[in-house]
């Protein structure tokens, strides 16, 4: 049996990964998944911690399956408020169906 859950997706600079996972853990999520990503957005550039010629993957994409829509909104708003003024990034939500409902 599956049931509905909300997936939060955050795409931002690798530099602030720890801050994002901190927000996620503080919100009480059961886990998260991280993928290395590259990309282009309105700021046009990414963090500059290392040569861009050798590193196309300066972004990270973080996904969190949340139990409740409230938790999803809380994470989204927190990330946007605390990080997206100074760092580039986007965030969006998706509806998913999870199998092991007990886990989330």
């Amino acid at each position: 049996m599956t049931h509905k859950a909300t997936k939060v997706v955050i795409i931002t600079e690798k530099l602030v990964l720890r801050q994002v996972t901190g927000i996620i853990e503080a919100a009480g999520a059961t886990g998260y998944t991280i993928v290395a990503a590259g990309g282009k957005g309105s700021r046009g550039m990414r963090s500059t911690s290392r040569p861009s010629v050798v590193d196309e993957f300066g972004n990270v994409k973080i996904e969190v399956i949340t139990r409740s829509r409230e938790m999803a909104d809380r994470i989204t708003e927190e990330v946007a408020a605390r990080l997206f003024e100074n760092y580039s990034g986007i965030t969006y939500l998706e509806e998913v169906e999870v199998l092991r409902s007990a886990k989330f």
Partner: protein, 335 residues
């Protein structure tokens, strides 16, 4: 006059020196649209090799060195790192169209030290047969960390004044810790401690030292490609950054050269050491500085400071700076 000729002669010769040749080669192939890719893992490994080589070499020398000889140069390194940021605060930051926090971050980056520029200078000195106190490269963190700290503190003072009118206290220790924990300073200091306390001669002489120049050549190639790639970012910010990036490396280098010369008169600090001090001052951090500043001054625009440093600052520091200080040293010490 002779100085100018010597400098120009060196400049021409240096264009054939391998480090510079790889740097220019990188710029040229990037400009020609090359798809050559140096994997990120190789880039990181080159940096690691470089810093370990500098660190271990320095540590092994400090063992033999007279510690009091190091005091004045170390103090000078701190003074120079701090002074560069204040100079930027009262020059670049006052220029029209330049945001104050962007300017402070830029000055911080130019006050910090580039390990690769320093490594090129070490190779040049060895090729030219100019002796240097081998612990001088180990002064790196004495200039690097204070520059970054002062930049972050000045920026926060500026921002809190803007917002509330009154200064919020800035905690220094977390900035120091973050610098020291960064990959560049960890590797350098680890090498230093290993060189100082343990018997790493064999692995130094059989691995880190002989492979050093090769990996430096690859790093120069990457930095050349990177310099070209970042030029477009620099175009998006005020052209004052470009002016600063040309003038500052040489100005900082000459300032440090002068202070180093004073140390020479006072304590016999040698010509090779003076050149390296000038190179450190003239260099701008490419590895550890940017992320520290990005975290410490988040409002500053990295296109401004990284663009200025990587696209113009580093090439100027290497291509013009190094031969200039060598020529000056020759003029002063072997007239």
């Amino acid at each position: 006059m002779e100085l100018v000729l010597d400098f120009l002669g060196r400049l021409v010769t240096q264009f054939q020196s391998p480090s510079l040749a790889f740097l220019l080669g990188g710029i040229v192939i990037a400009a020609l649209g090359s798809k050559l890719e140096i994997p990120d893992a190789i880039y990181k490994f080159c940096v690691f090799m470089l810093l370990m080589r500098i660190g271990i070499g320095g540590g092994m020398e400090i063992r033999a060195a007279n510690l009091t000889d190091m005091l004045l140069p170390a103090a000078l390194a701190i003074v120079i790192g701090v002074a560069i940021v204040f100079i930027g605060r009262v020059t670049l930051a006052k220029l029209p169209g330049v945001r104050v926090d962007d300017a402070i971050a830029t000055a911080g980056l130019f006050g910090a030290v580039s390990a690769s520029t320093l490594a090129v200078a070490v190779v040049v000195l060895e090729e030219e047969g100019i002796a240097y106190e081998a612990w001088v490269p180990a002064l790196y963190p004495f200039m690097d960390i204070p520059a970054l700290i002062v930049a972050i503190v000045l920026a926060r003072i500026h921002l809190s004044r803007q917002k509330s009118g009154k200064r919020a206290p800035v905690k220094i220790w977390p900035i120091v810790a973050e610098s020291l924990q960064g990959s560049a300073l960890t590797a350098l200091l680890l090498g230093l401690v290993l060189g100082l306390l343990t018997d790493v001669e064999a692995v130094f002489a059989g691995f880190y030292d002989p492979l050093f120049r090769g990996f430096l050549s690859i790093l120069m190639l990457i930095m050349g490609m990177e310099a070209y790639a970042r030029l477009s970012e620099l175009r998006k910010v005020a052209h004052w950054y470009a002016v600063y990036a040309v003038v500052a490396p040489l100005a900082h280098g000459l300032l440090a050269f002068g202070l180093g010369y004073v140390a020479h008169l006072l304590t016999g600090f040698g010509p090779g050491g003076i050149i390296l001090l000038a190179v450190m001052a003239g260099s701008s951090s490419d590895i550890s500085g940017p992320p520290t500043l990005r975290g410490g001054i988040p409002t500053a625009n990295p296109s401004a400071y990284v663009g200025a440093s990587t696209s113009i600052g580093t090439p100027v520091a290497i291509v013009l700076g190094i031969p200039l200080y060598v020529a000056l040293a020759q003029a002063l010490f072997n007239p």
